[in-house]
């Protein structure tokens, strides 16, 4: 004899089926158990309601992105093929390593750190501080190269890691421009938000503020627009407030975003008045 608990879990397998298609032991239990019959009706109601959720359709943009990735990956496979001559053995450490750009970047960074360490040790003994500075510069430039390479990656995850690496790199003009390009052009809203976070940590830079003011009207994603407006108002300046006010009139934005922009503008204005009295 089946318990009510096991009957109720078993019912899940048959929610899309008419009741006469249920296995005989389930039907026998339901005939004599009002509780499980009620449960079946409830589960079936939820199941049918879920069927109302819309199905997403593909888009030309998705196909274009996929084919760009496929072209790049195919070219990379063709480039690597003559060197290896045969298919990679999936079990080898080498194949594990070559599949993961982050491991490559980590190995590169580790090699450079070891280099700097050895350089420091040797330098201390030999008094060659110039060599250490040179190694440090080299490490900085290699980290920079790895960061730029990750930011060009097909994978949004790798680009997010690239953005993460910029947090450890001293912010020069080139890095700022790179991050602004990410904020403007990256196809992933998550990557754009991550780059925005890094830029928000550099409030003293006028090129950050100018770059974000220029970028705000062109953002296609409402969450990025909202986050960028909040960052701009934090960075201060009447020009930033004007840019946000202008964005709040953009009728392409959802009402909720426009209301949010007006709300943070009002908060900012309240704070400014408060600090002025």
């Amino acid at each position: 004899m089946m318990s009510c608990e096991s009957v109720r879990e078993s019912l899940l397998e048959f929610l899309g089926e008419p009741i006469d298609r249920l296995p005989a032991d389930l039907r026998a239990h339901l005939d004599g158990c009002a509780g499980c019959t009620g449960e079946l009706e409830e589960l079936r109601g939820t199941w049918l309601a879920l069927g109302q959720l819309p199905e997403e359709q593909s888009s030309d943009r998705m196909r274009a992105r996929f084919h760009a990735m496929l072209t790049a990956e195919t070219a990379s496979v063709r480039r690597d093929a003559p060197a290896s001559m045969t298919r990679r053995n999936p079990g080898t450490l080498l194949s594990f390593f070559t599949l993961r750009p982050v491991l490559q970047a980590a190995a590169l960074a580790a090699a450079l750190i070891i280099g700097v360490f050895l350089g420091t040790a040797i330098g201390a003994r030999q008094g060659k501080q110039d060599g250490i500075a040179e190694l440090r510069d080299e490490m900085r430039s290699m980290t920079h190269a790895v960061t730029l390479s990750l930011l060009q990656h097909q994978s949004a995850s790798e680009r997010l890691r690239g953005v993460g690496l910029t947090e450890t790199t001293p912010p020069d003009a080139e890095l700022i421009q790179t991050l602004l390009r990410v904020v403007n052009d990256d196809p992933s809203a998550n990557v754009r938000l991550a780059a925005l976070d890094v830029l928000a940590s550099l409030p003293a830079r006028s090129d950050v503020r100018a770059g974000l003011i220029a970028s705000l009207p062109h953002q296609a994603s409402p969450p990025v627009t909202a986050a960028m407006a909040a960052v701009l108002l934090e960075l201060d300046g009447s020009e930033a407030a004007e840019a946000v006010r202008h964005a709040a009139t953009d009728d392409k934005l959802p009402d909720s975003v426009r209301q949010y922009l007006l709300k943070i503008l009002a908060e900012k204005s309240g704070k400014t008045k408060g600090s002025g009295t």
């Binding site: 939820t46 496979v77 599949l99 998550n190």
Partner: protein, 199 residues
């Protein structure tokens, strides 16, 4: 109720889609990466719907589809045609992409932004043009814990049996079934609560 997405290019006579998927993936693995395009055409819409139901965000879901196919390409050497069908392997990779996404999302605050919008009106789910019931259902789905949501999405929208779900999630069949049952109950409870709040 068909569980198959859009058909891709024609396959050899006498070959079903599972065999055909497997043989195409084996060819991708063995030096013909360009053939991944056929598998993309066949399966990307169902992955898009999987990620859409998991994240509730179209733009994020498109990113995750791209990420999933990139992983299929990068991990092609680990595909074994003799150990089950391509689709199951694809779902396992897709699931790991979703898990990584939710781990990152807490850092990159897209969820926080959506929450901020929830206080003042509709959320990013506005982009799903549906009636009120669908909107409430999607919102309820988003409020389920990710582990319950994924088992429900696989079962209800991808018509996976609990034996298959157990294989994808690497858990027992009993665990998958119990989790789905709890997910259905929680979903109903959340839906009713949201409906009352709306009223």
């Amino acid at each position: 109720m068909s569980e198959r997405g859009p058909e891709g290019p024609e396959r050899p006579e006498g070959m079903n889609e599972v065999d055909s998927d497997n043989s195409i993936m084996l060819r991708v693995r063995d030096g013909h990466p360009e053939e991944l395009g056929v598998l993309f055409e066949r399966h990307h819409v169902r992955l898009l719907n999987f990620f859409m139901k998991m994240s509730g965000d179209r733009s994020v879901s498109e990113d995750l589809v791209q990420e999933a196919f990139l992983r299929i390409m990068r991990y092609r050497d680990s595909f074994r045609g003799d150990q089950g069908e391509f689709v199951m392997w694809m779902y396992r990779l897709a699931r790991s992409v979703a898990v990584d996404h939710f781990r990152r999302a807490t850092r990159w605050r897209t969820t926080e932004i959506d929450d901020a919008f929830a206080a003042g009106g509709p959320t990013a789910l506005d982009r799903i043009e549906t009636d009120e019931t669908s909107r409430l259902l999607q919102e309820s789905l988003m409020k389920l814990s990710p582990d319950k949501r994924e088992v429900l999405v696989l079962h209800r929208f991808h018509f996976k049996k609990f034996t298959e779900i157990a294989e994808i999630l690497d858990c027992s069949v009993g665990t998958a079934r119990t989790r789905a049952h709890r997910a259905m109950k929680d979903l109903k409870r959340i839906y009713v609560r949201l409906q009352r709040q709306g009223a």
